[in-house]
């Protein structure tokens, strides 16, 4: 199993009473809430944390793309990846954007990723997503064509990476007379690893698991039962295609907090994970799921589920569901070992900073996790593989 340090780079200095006046930390929250002087401090602190993960022996670090919100300050994740490319030596750098349908020219992604891949000598992991629903409000891009544009942009980028240029691309949304990206990707056999982060979708799994692709499916922030269900679905789909999915094709991304004891962990994490859940993730359904973002069927499901129970998530509710792992090293080791054995994921992306979690607690979390959790799980999973 491989271990990654994932960052969202939230605007941790957010005035959390914003929700008395605004219904979301996305799209419409005035950017007057952002203080560039604090932003300067935060960006540099967060980059230091990502670099520190390299020294602590993580296999990879992950940056992310979101627009017009306090939840994540990386609208252009390539800027972060570029900064990290030179300051890290060993880690893979996963860019878990880019949100392809938002772009009018997806070749910019082919270029950006190829540059990072060249600078790092092949340490790039190429993430491709549709972005979350709110992004379609912020960017004005039509969500009704989100799926079409994703497919087409993906095909265009793959063509740019794998076919000798110049070549012609004839699509519905994108058309090019000269696809001829300089630089070529460093990992050119056949292309950099592609990861598909998703909140959970059978259509995405069918597509990612296809023998022509075999992309790594990355389940983001979801209950353990959901993670187990979608990863089983991936394996079943692969079997249906006539091959066995490897652990390398399955990843899980979740927030985690480990401290000296269960009690300390819970006490230290509580206000920060609840800020993440209740303040940074806050958005109305219409913002989260614009028309066409998911099928009408799944949207009816989501709206009915919302009507059924309160959406307020607490530290207790997310620990209970296994959306958040929190506790002493022994507790965290035990849970992860159990989940890994049961679900069989090969990539574990931990969000060790979340919400308002301050620098010193983030570092402590990273240190305890890398010293007391990672080596143990590496051994266990290596033995299993052998």
């Amino acid at each position: 199993m491989k271990f990654y340090f994932m960052h969202l780079m939230p605007y941790a200095d957010l005035d959390l009473s914003y929700d008395e006046k605004h219904d979301s930390a996305w799209v419409t929250l005035p950017n007057s809430y952002f203080d560039p002087k604090k932003g300067h401090q935060l960006y540099n602190r967060y980059l230091d944390e990502l670099e520190y993960a390299d020294q602590l022996g993580f296999d990879g670090i992950c940056v992310n793309e979101h627009h017009s919100n306090a939840y994540g300050l990386m609208p252009i994740p390539g800027v972060m990846a570029g900064a990290l490319a030179r300051r890290t030596k060993n880690v893979k750098i996963a860019i878990l954007g880019r949100a392809l349908p938002l772009l009018n020219n997806p070749l910019t992604v082919a270029e950006e990723f190829a540059m990072v891949d060249n600078i790092t000598g092949g340490r790039l992991i190429a993430g491709m997503v549709r972005g979350i629903g709110a992004e379609y409000h912020s960017w004005g891009v039509n969500p009704a064509f989100s799926h079409e544009r994703f497919q087409e942009a993906h095909d265009l980028i793959l063509q740019a990476w794998t076919q000798p240029g110049p070549s012609v691309f004839e699509g519905k949304h994108y058309n090019f007379e000269y696809v001829n990206v300089w630089p070529r990707v460093y990992q050119d056999n056949p292309h950099p690893p592609i990861w598909i982060p998703s909140q959970g979708s059978s259509e995405t799994i069918e597509w990612a698991a296809h023998p022509d692709r075999k992309y790594t499916y990355l389940q983001t922030f979801a209950s353990v039962s959901t993670v187990a269900r979608y990863m089983k679905m991936y394996k079943d789909v692969a079997a249906g295609y006539g091959y066995e999915a490897t652990e390398d094709q399955l990843g899980w991304s979740l927030p985690l907090y480990v401290a000296e004891t269960d009690e300390i962990a819970r006490r230290e994490a509580k206000q920060h994970i609840e800020a993440f859940l209740q303040k940074f993730l806050r958005m109305p359904m219409e913002m989260l799921l614009p028309p066409g973002y998911t099928s009408v069927k799944s949207m009816v499901g989501a709206l009915s589920a919302k009507a059924g129970h309160s959406m307020k998530q607490t530290i207790d509710s997310v620990i209970e569901e296994g959306k958040f792992i929190c506790g002493s090293p022994a507790t965290v080791r035990e849970k992860l070992e159990e989940y890994q054995a049961e679900i069989g994921f090969g990539h574990l992306l931990t969000l060790l900073q979340f919400g308002t979690l301050p620098a010193e607690l983030t570092r402590k979390n990273m240190e305890i996790y890398s010293k007391e959790v990672m080596p143990y799980l590496r051994n266990v999973t290596a033995k299993k593989a052998a």
């Binding site: 379609y136 004005g140 009704a144 109305p284 028309p291 066409g292």
Partner: protein, 260 residues
């Protein structure tokens, strides 16, 4: 209420129709909430006209065809519908995006039209005059923002939606997004060709429209040569529902004059 329902296949697409009344043909083009039921204004109009109410491709019980990517596709489709129904001298009446659609049809070919009535149409942009962001509104905000008289909103909100109703709402919203998400509820080229509308045109607007503000009325009236603007007081985005009698009276008077 006397109307009949039917399904007809036009250009490979199954379309649900409601029809009622006898007289000169009146084709009603619905807005983004579709035309699920025979409304009182349809009934009243059917006392004088043969009222024909299709559900657009991608709405309600009609098919969602692969070819539907935008308003231009829908406009050409309706030229096929007019041919298919063998309509001549038809009175076109459209509300909201249906009003926009009626203008897109008329600039392409007005020869089969007798008159055009547009109710609070989307379709053009007046810089600085912002339309409501219907895609950001929840069910309650939508109901409230559609009407001036909140009693109408209360009436809608009192009935919890069924699963089927919710599915239809989402289907309609998806097609509305295809037609109008970006650019938002307008066609940047439409204003250049509105001079081609050669039939008498009535533009009807509620003075308290929170979806497409009544300030759009004068802009349309300037762009369409033979047009008249009527503003209805104390009325929201759906005059045909909120002020049925006044609306039917205006339309009747206008068509009477236009086709005399």
């Amino acid at each position: 209420m006397s109307f009949t329902e039917s399904t007809e296949t036009i250009t490979g697409c199954k379309i649900r129709f409601m029809r009622g009344g006898k007289g000169a043909p009146l084709l009603f083009l619905h807005g983004s909430s579709g035309a699920p039921r025979w409304a009182p204004f349809m009934e009243k109009l059917s006392e004088t006209y043969e009222v024909i109410v299709p559900e657009h491709p991608g709405f309600g019980a009609s098919d969602s065809p692969e070819w539907l990517d935008g308003m231009s596709d829908l406009a050409f489709f309706y030229l096929d519908v007019i041919d298919h129904l063998g309509l001549d001298k038809v009175n076109l009446v459209g509300g909201s995006i249906g009003g926009w659609l009626s203008a897109e049809i008329a600039i392409r070919n007005s020869t089969k039209l007798a008159s055009l009535t547009m109710i609070a149409p989307a379709g053009i942009r007046v810089k600085g005059l912002r339309k409501g962001d219907v895609f950001m509104w929840n069910a309650e905000q939508t109901a409230r923002n559609l009407f001036h008289d909140q009693a109408y909103a209360e009436q809608i909100l009192a009935i919890p939606p069924s699963k089927e109703g919710l599915e239809t709402t989402l289907k309609n919203k998806l097609t509305t997004a295809k037609l109008a998400w970006e650019p938002r509820f307008y066609n940047p080229d439409l204003h250049k060709w509105l001079h081609r509308i050669s039939v008498p045109t009535l533009i009807v607007w509620g003075d308290d429209d929170k979806v497409v503000p009544a300030g759009y009325g004068p802009a349309w009236q300037e762009l369409i040569p033979n047009s008249r603007l009527e503003i209805i007081e104390n009325c929201g985005h759906l005059p045909q529902i909120e002020k049925t009698d006044r609306f039917v009276q205006l339309v009747g008077g206008f068509i009477g004059e236009a086709t005399r």
